[in-house]
């Protein structure tokens, strides 16, 4: 196998500068919904020391004083730019998987015998840069996990060409200099466990005993070890940590103190999450809600959560809304100023793989009803459930949003 991981450099920040050549060489950051935290940084912003995820208000004054540029997130624009990059990649290598908005895996096995891979990587980079204005990195290896390692090494070593191939010559060196936390699919808990066992880089993990590790952890780590040793176990459209979670949450513009005030935003988030779930043909087994105070305020702090498991995986908005509102009534505590709430859907599975419950009536009407609602809403109707109160305006507080350069006639970039 020959797998390439293509990822866009500082994607959102790169998008923002495509039609703003005046920003070249300046620090640029992009903020999350409601201008909460920094979610993308240009190289110059990284050099200024802006940390990923840092709350905007903490750095605002200092950052702007240093001449930094800031944007609210503009997903309509990023989405269009992403689909352009993806369509270039698909035209160059039809076997591809969009892994996220700014990452894709290409299966280059068939191309490897016809092309010099390094040159092919450079070509991909030059085409995306010229056609769309977005620079990409290309990391190539015999497995997805090794391609991820190569991608990490491009950053670590500051490779100028942004193209890196991991092969039998350099594999050991690269694995040795890749900390365990940077391995694809290893979370903070797992990396903690592994450190405890004296395994602190990818090379140590690759040489650990497969049988022992499988017993101690799971088959997931076995596949990881095999992949690090060059044996491909994870195909395209497959991953060790698939998206099994859907989260919809927002900061509220003004804090709330009563349960009734929380009902409407929560219901909207649940309805949105359910819609997302159905758009991916999934059912979820478990739902959690959380509501919390502003961590950065001086008021009393609280963060409360509750979760409920469904007897049968579901994607029925009605059931989910009932459940969410039930949980809200149960957990809401007075005396706090809540500023953020959200819903998390867990253990999501494809609709086709849901097993029915012998003792629960199957609701075939439900799926038809949900389908109709989604279709009508996609066509611009506004169908909603009573607890959503009919308002669908999330509290948005985006001060620095750029133009929708590519999706809106009124906002086209101008030239003189």
């Amino acid at each position: 196998m020959t797998i390439a991981l293509v990822d866009c450099e500082s994607f959102y920040a790169s998008c923002e500068t495509v039609f703003r050549p005046d920003l070249k060489g300046k620090p640029v950051v992009v903020l999350s919904n409601n201008d909460g935290c920094v979610i993308a940084r240009s190289i110059e912003a990284k050099q200024l020391g802006v940390a990923m995820g840092i709350p905007w208000f903490k750095i605002r004054e200092d950052y702007l004083k240093k001449g930094g540029i800031v944007f609210s997130s503009n997903y309509a624009f990023y989405g269009d730019m992403s689909s352009r990059v993806m369509s270039i990649l698909r035209s160059l290598c039809p076997k591809m998987e969009c892994y996220s908005i700014d990452e894709a895996f290409l299966d280059m096995t068939d191309l490897a015998s016809h092309y010099d891979l390094y040159e092919f990587g450079c070509y991909i980079r030059s085409v995306t840069k010229q056609w769309v204005g977005i620079p990409v990195r290309i990391a190539i290896g015999p497995t997805k996990t090794l391609a991820k390692v190569a991608a990490y090494q491009i950053k670590r070593q500051g490779i100028q060409s942004k193209v890196m191939i991991i092969d039998s010559h350099n594999r050991i060196d690269m694995l040795r200099s890749t900390p365990i936390r940077e391995i694809w699919g290893i979370g903070s808990r797992m990396s903690h466990h592994l450190h405890g066992m004296g395994i602190d880089n990818a090379y140590a993990l690759a040489n650990s005993n497969i049988a022992t590790m499988r017993k101690r952890f799971s088959v997931v780590i076995e596949r990881m070890i095999r992949e690090l040793n060059g044996e491909s176990c994870i195909g395209l459209e497959e991953s060790l940590s698939p998206r099994k979670q859907i989260i919809v949450s927002r900061s509220l513009r003004s804090p709330i103190t009563r349960a009734e005030e929380a009902r409407m935003p929560l219901s909207n988030f649940v309805a949105r999450a359910a819609e997302k779930l159905r758009s991916e043909y999934q059912h979820c087994q478990r739902m959690s809600i959380f509501i919390r105070t502003n961590r950065f305020s001086n008021h009393r702090q609280a963060c409360i959560t509750d979760q409920q498991t469904f007897p049968v995986p579901t994607n029925d908005s009605r059931l989910m809304l009932r459940t969410a509102n039930g949980m809200l009534n149960k957990i809401f505590r007075k005396g706090y100023r809540y500023s953020k709430l959200g819903v998390i859907l867990d253990d999501c599975t494809l609709a086709s793989s849901v097993q029915g419950d012998l003792f629960l009536a199957q609701d075939t009407h439900a799926s038809k009803l949900m389908q109709s609602i989604d279709q009508m809403n996609q066509k611009g109707a506004r169908l909603f459930f009573a607890s959503q109160h009919g308002t669908f305006s999330y509290p948005r507080n985006q001060q620095q949003v750029s133009q929708r350069y590519t999706t809106c006639w009124e906002e086209l970039p101008t030239v003189s």
């Binding site: 050549p21 056609w131 086209l412 003189s416």
Partner: protein
């Protein structure tokens, strides 16, 4: 906007004699855009290119995948500004306006020049 024909199964009465000759309606996108992925629409401001039929407010179809040659209308970024000009490569590389009041920019005088794409079509809409 394209309106799809409905080729449904419900033939009530005599079928349309034209039904065998249905073709897709003319699609302006297809005519104006060769490489959708690399094509962006930009709006012209001002009259510096009026001699090339680019009016104030015209929509420019810009293909970033085409390499511009001598005489092409191009989009370029020059010292932080995005401009639309005619590219001249002879006798010297220059960006020429199509209006007597606007000067020609010599590329050798600019610190930072990047050709962003070739203008492949202009849409001037009448009010």
């Amino acid at each position: 906007m394209l309106l799809p024909f409905y080729l449904g199964p419900a033939y009530v009465g005599f079928p349309s004699p034209a039904s065998d000759y249905m073709e897709n309606p003319i699609d302006l996108n297809e005519h104006l855009i060769k490489n959708r992925t690399a094509t962006f629409l930009l709006r012209a401001k001002g009259v510096s290119m009026i001699g090339a039929c680019i009016a104030d407010g015209a929509v420019l179809v810009v293909d970033r995948s085409m390499t511009p040659i001598h005489g092409d209308i191009v989009i370029a970024s020059i010292d932080g500004d995005i401009i639309c000009k005619r590219l001249l490569l002879r006798p010297q590389a220059a960006l020429k306006s199509e209006h007597p009041d606007y000067p020609t920019i010599m590329i050798s005088d600019c610190a930072d020049v990047e050709l962003m794409g070739k203008v492949t079509a202009v849409i001037n809409q009448f009010k």
